[in-house]
């Protein structure tokens, strides 16, 4: 059982969220604050209406510039479907780091789909299959938010609920639930399950019809993580390349993928390729406004490379970057990872008490949220911080990444 009560900011309505978050909004860049306030205002309208209705056309037009960079969340559900439009607004709030508002939107939507009172949905003219699909989509969103917030048991409940609702059909919700459960297995550190789920989904004939390139990218990427964690570094790189070739250049996921490949390169002992990869990813993440988790992963990687190289000035610079990110509202997992690396930097600069404090905070986060892989990592860090990895012979996949990373 890993769930604790929501943080004090946790509001249960859009207006309450607005009041609680107003001070933060006032300190944000004006355009982001405007977007979030607009989303909250329209959510308050949704909450007042007993039936499901689309956000106003004027609201969507005003939010369109903010919505357009978001990746398409549902492929089969029509973009103009009123439920899809609310799900988009929820994704927008999540993208701007406001999961509580995102959750409020999803909850208001689910209520109007008859989550608590099935009779309520019958007046909306939806059939049971459509209603189940939309409700399942709401559950997958809740699952994702719970996973990112580190409430893994809660996330499992939401994904299970979504699967139960969509067991018979392969549409957006079923796929989102399957991908969500795979992501959850990554978060729990259950890598054999990750590999098995990814392989099964990629080979599943029913799933194939709804698997878009972006989904395949996610599956290859997760399988690459599982392979890397299990020491199959070349398999990891090959899967990463499968993902990379599907992704192309114009994607917000590219920086994340490059980080993943750079991590594999570092595990392989190719510090030069890893350093260039992390550097590229960091640069691209900032340029494209990639999520904080990507920025953290890149900064953690840069710091690890600096530690391997052992240059004090570079370690200090990487540590400063980590400090900057640690001041941001990071999700628990990213925070724990950043703290672990920060502790290693403190150890390098011979500040054992600060290292111990950072490790303590990371351990507390890992235990509270049951991040088993991080717990093992922390234990390993405690027992032996000087572990080295023997470099294998350079595989062509690694050579290809070295060339890519060096290009920028």
């Amino acid at each position: 059982m890993t769930h604790s009560l929501p943080a004090p900011i946790g509001a249960s309505s859009a207006a309450e969220w607005l009041s609680l978050a107003a001070a933060r909004l006032a300190a944000m860049p004006g355009d982001v604050a405007d977007v979030l306030a607009t989303v909250a205002m329209h959510t308050a309208t949704l909450e007042r209406h007993p039936d499901l209705r689309a956000p106003s056309a004027a609201a969507l037009a005003a939010l369109n510039p903010a919505l357009s960079p978001l990746p398409v969340q549902q492929l089969l559900l029509a973009p103009e479907h009123q439920a899809n439009q609310w799900l988009q607004l929820s994704a927008l709030a999540e993208h701007h780091g406001e999961p509580v508002l995102a959750r409020i939107i999803v909850d208001a939507l689910a209520e109007r789909l008859g989550e608590h009172d099935a009779g309520r949905a019958t007046s909306s003219g939806m059939d049971d299959v459509e209603r189940a699909e939309l409700l399942a989509l709401c559950f997958t969103r809740r699952g994702r938010m719970a996973r990112v917030a580190g409430y893994l048991d809660d996330a499992q409940c939401h994904f299970d609920e979504a699967l139960a609702l969509t067991r018979s059909s392969w549409r957006d919700a079923r796929l989102a639930a399957e991908l969500g459960l795979t992501n959850l297995a990554v978060a729990r550190g259950n890598y054999p399950q990750v590999a098995a789920r990814c392989t099964a989904l990629l080979a599943h004939s029913d799933a194939a019809a709804v698997l878009a390139p972006v989904h395949r990218v996610a599956l290859y990427q997760m399988r690459a993580i599982a392979s890397r964690k299990r020491g199959a570094l070349i398999d990891a790189l090959l899967d990463s390349w499968q993902a990379y070739d599907l992704l192309g250049h114009a994607s917000a996921h590219r920086a994340e993928l490059i980080v993943s490949m750079a991590e594999t390169a570092l595990e392989c002992g190719d510090v030069v390729a890893a350093e260039a990869g992390f550097h590229n990813a960091e640069h691209e993440a900032r340029a494209t406004g990639a999520p904080l988790r990507v920025q953290v992963a890149a900064a953690v990687g840069t710091a690890r490379v600096a530690l391997v190289r052992g240059t004090r000035a570079v370690v200090l610079s990487a540590a400063n970057d980590l400090d900057r990110l640690l001041r941001q509202p990071l999700a628990p997992r990213e925070r724990a990872q950043a703290l672990m690396t920060r502790a290693a930097c403190y150890q390098f600069t011979a500040e054992p008490s600060l290292a111990s404090a950072a490790l303590g905070e990371a351990r507390e986060l890992a235990e509270r949220h049951a991040f088993h892989d991080l717990s093992f990592g922390l234990e390993a860090l405690r027992v032996d911080s000087a572990a080295t990895v023997a470099a294998p012979a350079r595989h062509p996949a690694l050579a290809r990444f070295g060339a890519l990373a060096a290009m920028a």
């Binding site: 769930h3 607005l18 909004l25 205002m41 209406h49 009172d117 409430y151 409940c157």
Partner: protein
């Protein structure tokens, strides 16, 4: 009992203080509340303050003014500092409002925000005001529960307090465990396990107590029948409300009325939840009753 499909006429705050809103919005507010609330138009902070000192159950309705140098802002800030607990409904109107102004207004606290950019509708305005009424009712019930606990040296655990407060805000309508879980931003199964692990009653029981507290508040109002209360709280029948009262308190509605419904329910709740502290014998006769504020009290 209300027939299916008939919207329930939820109670509204007794007085609406309407400040700096255009005449068209004031007219719409009048239409929305009808005879169910008194509508007072105020022109400045001084008049608003006078009313707020005197009136009991009221709600302030203000515009979202884009012009940050408008004198309204200075006066409104002073009024908010003096009366931070008075509920505020903000109305955004075309050509006058901006999102920065929404954020500025929210920093001083708002209960609801109405988007009038595409035309206001009386039912929407009424829904916002009913929500405000629910929120203030919740605050008063909560204050009474805290005071009951304090008197006996008990303390409501923080996690239970959070659940009860959220449940109270939505206690005017059926409140299944799944809804309470959504209000806690958890899955129902997680919330159930959470309650078990902390020795708390199940979410369904907590939601039931929240509805009963609101029912008790109405029961203390001699003008309301059990039928009207069951309609107001969307119970399927008056019998369903009676049964719930009996099951939770072992008293009939008539007995509750005689002894002070809110006082008895608060005591029963405290005992059933086994809040830490020394329980005392309920001396209901000496306790002040929580009196429901009606529109007529001020009108």
């Amino acid at each position: 009992m209300a027939s299916p499909g008939t919207p329930r006429r939820q109670p509204l705050p007794a007085t609406l203080l309407v400040w700096a809103l255009p005449d068209s919005v004031v007219a719409l507010l009048r239409e929305a509340v009808g005879r169910d609330a008194q509508l007072v138009v105020v022109r400045n902070g001084g008049t608003a303050t006078d009313y707020m000192r005197r009136a009991g159950s009221l709600c302030l309705v203000v515009p979202v003014l884009r012009d940050r140098f408008d004198p309204f802002w200075t006066e409104y800030t002073v009024v908010r500092e003096r009366f931070p607990n008075v509920p505020v409904v903000a109305v955004a109107t075309p050509g006058v409002s901006s999102m920065q102004a929404v954020v500025r207004l929210s920093q001083l606290g708002i209960s609801d925000l109405i988007d009038g950019n595409e035309g206001l509708r009386p039912d929407e305005v009424r829904a916002a005001l009913a929500k405000v009424y629910n929120d203030t009712t919740m605050q008063r019930i909560w204050a009474a529960l805290e005071s009951t606990c304090e008197e006996s040296g008990a303390r409501c655990p923080d996690d239970l307090a959070t659940m009860l407060r959220r449940a109270l805000r939505y206690a005017h309508e059926p409140l299944p465990a799944s809804k309470l879980a959504a209000l806690m931003q958890m899955h129902e199964r997680t919330l159930r396990k959470y309650c078990e692990s902390r020795g708390l009653p199940s979410p369904q029981i907590i939601a039931g107590w929240a509805r009963l507290l609101v029912a008790a508040l109405y029961l203390d109002d001699p003008g309301r029948s059990i039928t009207s209360i069951s309609e107001l709280l969307a119970y399927p029948t008056p019998g369903a409300l009676r049964k719930q009262i009996l099951r939770y308190t072992t008293h009939s509605p008539r007995q509750l009325r005689t002894q002070g419904a809110m006082t008895v329910v608060l005591q029963e709740l405290k005992q059933s939840l086994q809040m830490p502290g020394t329980p005392e014998t309920a001396d209901t006769a000496t306790r002040p009753r929580l009196v429901l504020l009606r529109s007529e009290d001020v009108a």
